[in-house]
Symmetry: C2
């Protein structure tokens, strides 16, 4: 989520330029694939289904993504870009404001339901060490934990956070809360996810702040 992604819009991996129309088709395939994967998982989704739902031929799809794995990575790229845009939209160093930002991420779910649950099902499908996406998912997870930890370390260096908290563990806790609440929202759409996140954020800031 926090590793810089090479922009792929306008160019294929092989440096071959694609037209605006081709680019729009590529984006459409990724969007449709995201919805299908978040609902049915990678095992439950074939390239043929994705092509059909996106209104392109299989050949058309293979022009953009020659393997399912390539498409899965493109879907995760889009999801990571979206999450990074939300998490770091206030700048790279939000300090204790990161907790309110996380609550805002939760508020974003109903606007992008096709993204909710995507990582959960791909993680669940890729538990085995030989699984196709395992290394990528692990690397992305660690990068986000590291970036959250850096944010908290900077805030402490500025005197915003008390000294006796394990900030690596706190970064893990922040992501655990966020992904666990996502699971709760998937299992029970009546869960007051945003209200829960707001209360959580306020309690975190109160507990961590040096002055209280």
């Amino acid at each position: 989520m926090s590793t810089p992604t090479t922009p792929t819009a306008g160019a294929r991996g092989d440096g071959h330029k694609i037209s605006a129309r081709g680019e729009a088709r590529r984006a459409r395939i990724i969007e449709v694939a995201t919805s299908l994967l978040a609902r049915n998982g990678s095992r439950g989704t074939s390239l043929a289904q994705i092509a059909s739902a996106a209104g392109v031929s299989q050949t058309g799809l293979l022009h953009h993504f020659s393997t399912k794995e390539q498409l899965l990575h493109a879907v995760l790229d889009r999801r990571d870009e979206h999450e990074n845009a939300l998490l770091w939209r206030g700048g790279p160093d939000p300090g204790l404001g990161i907790f309110d930002i996380v609550a805002d991420v939760v508020a974003d779910w109903p606007k992008h339901p096709e993204l909710v649950g995507l990582v959960a099902i791909l993680v669940a499908e890729n538990v085995g060490t030989d699984a196709v996406l395992k290394d990528r998912l692990t690397a992305t997870y660690r990068a986000t934990v590291a970036r959250l930890e850096e944010t908290l370390v900077s805030a402490r260096a500025r005197g915003e956070i008390r000294a006796d908290v394990d900030l690596h563990a706190k970064a893990i806790e922040i992501l655990a809360f966020l992904s666990g609440l996502e699971m709760a929202w998937l299992v029970d759409s009546d869960v007051p996810a945003h209200a829960t996140a707001i209360g959580w954020a306020a309690a975190q800031v109160e507990a961590l702040a040096l002055t209280r």
Copy 2:
């Protein structure tokens, strides 16, 4: 997870008694199914695979579970019994001790890795409203939230918890932390899950306790 489960050992649902050997075979099927389902999901696991891994014939398996859905429910029954036994082993009303108990649940994961991720993949596979396990997973989730909330409400009635916390949201937060940390542990086995949970529990008690 908190709904009382009718004991099934020694009797089939139809009241037909089964032998000790049959019972052991049934338990073995559930155990093997749990491991396969947690790793490959319901979509990625056939009854034939489960029978083969359990060392029974398909007819032998069908004697105990006539459908995959029946077996899925038996696997979830076992998982819910295990979690309930851990969560409420100190009695039905642990008060603020519930946070340390949750940390102990995390410490239990390496002892029962076949159970970790089971609910995550089944939730991810059952997001659709028409999904086979959706209602059961939702009901179980709500029952556990309700039981956690009751615990906190009782503790507050005894003067152990400050008045200004939304205890329904806190119950949702506890389960979100637990299931999100489980996801983290699945994606990165190096995550210091138990240490994170211990720090989390201490911070929760400090933030909620009336006297501090």
